[in-house]
Structures are given as structure tokens and as C-alpha cells.
Subunit: 146 residues, 2 copies
């Protein structure tokens, strides 16, 4: 992207979005937070993508700097940190659902469950709302399911 010193750097929605979405690893971290209940550092390592610990640490830091995730002490075990989506981060759910929708359509080997995408296509905004509700519920009781 253009250097931030260039004229009209600010304001373009794609430049703004690219800071969060224009990186494959960040997309996978967001996937794990939204759809796989990842909460701890180890959950992202265990996601099986072969992410290196320095890339993971960098991307978590960037997502935090962008205000998309927050970092808190695990109430069950103070040495552990819990990562959660902020409201701004939960606002990304429609984008991630749109990516799933497109990929399901164009990827011959898609692993998107048929019932999942069918429910989404029947009621996009209702489906997004239910995913976001689930995240809020999970975040209200961070100690469970860790």
C-alpha cells in the first residue's frame, strides 16, 4: 500500500480494511477466533496451519493495535492470556461470511458444510447476528471451554 505520507492516504475503505484483512495469517487467526473458539496463544498454534510463533505473535499484536482483538488475563490461570474479539472485531463477521460464501462457490474442494452455507444464504443478516450473539455469549464467560 501507499506510504502513509502520500496524499489522500486516509479514508479509503480498502486501505483501511487491508490493515486487518490484507494478510493471510490474520484472516486465519480471525477464523479461529470466530469459528473455532480459539482463545489462548496455544489454540492458534494448534490450529494446524504451521504458523511460526514469531508470525503469530506479530499478527496478534497487529490485530490488537488495530483494535480488533483485546488481550486479558485468564481469570482461571493468571499466567495465561485470553484473546477476544472486540466489538470492532465482531463487526468483521459479515466480511468473513462473505468470504466463506464465495469460496464455497468457487472451491471444488471446499469443506464448508452444506447446511451451514444454506442457512446463511437463506437469511444472511440473521445468520451473521446469530454468529455474533454466540461470540458475545462465549465472551461473557471466558473461563469456560478453555
Amino acid at each position: 500500500m501507499a506510504r502513509q505520507t502520500s496524499e489522500n492516504w486516509f479514508g479509503c475503505p480498502f486501505r483501511f480494511g487491508a490493515n486487518v484483512l490484507g494478510d493471510g495469517w490474520s484472516l486465519l487467526i480471525l477464523r479461529d477466533l470466530i469459528f473455532r473458539e480459539a482463545r489462548h496463544y496455544g489454540d492458534f498454534v494448534a490450529a494446524g496451519e504451521g504458523i511460526s510463533t514469531n508470525i503469530l505473535a506479530d499478527r496478534l499484536q497487529r490485530l490488537e493495535a488495530e483494535g480488533v482483538i483485546s488481550k486479558q488475563q485468564d481469570p482461571d490461570r493468571a499466567v495465561r492470556v485470553i484473546y477476544r474479539l472486540t466489538e470492532k472485531g465482531r463487526g468483521l463477521v459479515p466480511i468473513l461470511m462473505a468470504i466463506i460464501d464465495w469460496s464455497e462457490q468457487w472451491d471444488d474442494r471446499t469443506e464448508v458444510p452444506a447446511a451451514f452455507i444454506k442457512a446463511y444464504r437463506e437469511d444472511r443478516s440473521g445468520f451473521v447476528a446469530s454468529v455474533v450473539d454466540g461470540l458475545e455469549l462465549a465472551e461473557a464467560k471466558p473461563g469456560e471451554g478453555a
Copy 2:
């Protein structure tokens, strides 16, 4: 992302989507194709992002390899090449609209026109369809507006 040799590489919609979306420059090229009537190599250079010609050439090649854009001879001037979105590429419009929607909401300096985003939020699928229709129309007469 994980090496393609790793177990279960294929099938995940985010891994699939990241090949196209997980790169800031590609996002901006898609923006120019969809919303700014960019058709020729020079249009992307002129977009003012300060993209270097080697990055631009690389990203155009990647998007073509992914089947998202196609390359054709300009009927008006055979030495020029026209880039167009394929059907798979036009299928990305809902994702780009979702990015605009999110950015408009969270970017204090957003330049997204209020009427534009209002029309989208009132009828998301209708708005996406009208954007796609406009692209198809433009592509039916590639010689104009060049």
C-alpha cells in the same frame, strides 16, 4: 499460510480466500476494477497508491492465475491489454461491499459517500446486484471509456 504440502491444506474457505484477498495490493487492484473502471495497466499505476510496476505486474498475474481477472487485447489498440473481472472475480463484490461497510463504520476519516453506504445498507443484495450489472455492462463494450 501453511505449505500446500501440509495435511488438510485444501478446502478451508479462508485459505482459499486468502490467495486472492490476503494481500493489500490485490485488494486495491480489485477496488480499481470494480469501483473505478480501471481497465489498462496504466489505470492501476495512475490510481495514486504508489504501487511499483513489478508488484503490480505480479499481482495482476496472480489474480489472473486465480481466475479472478482475464487479460485480452484491446480491440481499439492491439498493443494494449484490457484487464477484466471474470465471473469468479465479480463474485467478490459482496466481500468488497462488506469491507466498505465495516470500514465506513470504524474509520473516523472514511471517504465513503453517505448516500452510497445508505443505499447498500437498505438493500444489500439489490445493491450488490446493481454493481455487478454495471460491471457486466461495461465489459460488454470494452472499447469505450478507455
